[in-house]
Amino acid sequence: MKRRTVIVGAAVGLAVQLVPSVLAGKLKKTVSEFYGQENITAGRVHLKTPPLAENGNSVSLVVEVDSPMTEKNYVQEIRIFADKNPVPNLASYRLSPDSGKAKVATRIRLSNSQIIVAVARMNDGTLWSGSSETIVTLAACVEPLL
């Protein structure tokens, strides 16, 4: 029992350490430029994009945040960032307790293979993040419109 606790603890510790390290370089700059000095914790946000996208012009994205969505505890806002896009701030969604469920699906454009980050702001002001990586074989913005 004790050994299991130790192993689980170590695994959780490793996971917590791994996630923020994904937010490296320019992406970290993009996100922190937006939120300034505010502290962003990795977790609670589940971002899903396909691992491989054939066409960057339309990539499905699903973001879900762990939240009971009650008057007292809900997700206020979700923002999506992709720093290799010409405009890294992809979209933002404002939710309310009437949403019932903090889940949004949409289709985005990606100009390059990259890591996409979603940051959620709770009604208590805390920020949480999740990320996902997509490899794009045909980027958006390159081919001419016919």
């Binding site: 969604y93 939710l95 009437d98 019932g100 469920k101 889940k103 985005i108 454009r109 419109l145 016919l146």
Partner: protein, 109 residues
């Protein structure tokens, strides 16, 4: 802008419903070129709003990174019967509005 909305017509009170919307719009990002190499000017929808019980329950802000014909799926909690209003506003301020009726019934048993 032509919009298509999928929302159940009837729901039990307290149910969380998925709403799907699709609006036809090219969403020109302003970064692409046409066949003769000229830059296609940016033309995008900026804001989408869903109102229910005279309150904004969901709002989305789009950038050029949203795919053409913006698709959105989100959720609302059914509380009482009434109108659910969907509004899209493009960068020129042009609005498209659609209203759906939602009937909320008390849970059967």
């Amino acid at each position: 802008m032509k919009a298509r909305i999928s929302i159940p017509a009837q729901a039990n009170k307290g149910d969380v419903l998925e709403i799907k919307t699709l609006v036809s719009h090219p969403m020109h990002s302003g970064f692409r070129r046409d066949a003769i190499g000229a830059l296609v000017p940016r033309d995008i929808i900026k804001v989408f709003r869903c109102e229910y019980r005279e309150r904004v329950v969901f709002e989305a802000e789009f950038g050029p990174g949203t795919a053409a014909n913006p698709f959105l799926s989100f959720y609302i909690r059914a509380d009482r019967s009434g109108e659910v209003k969907f509004i899209w506003v493009d960068q020129h301020g042009e609005q498209t509005e659609q209203v759906k009726l939602l009937e909320v019934v008390d849970k059967i048993k």
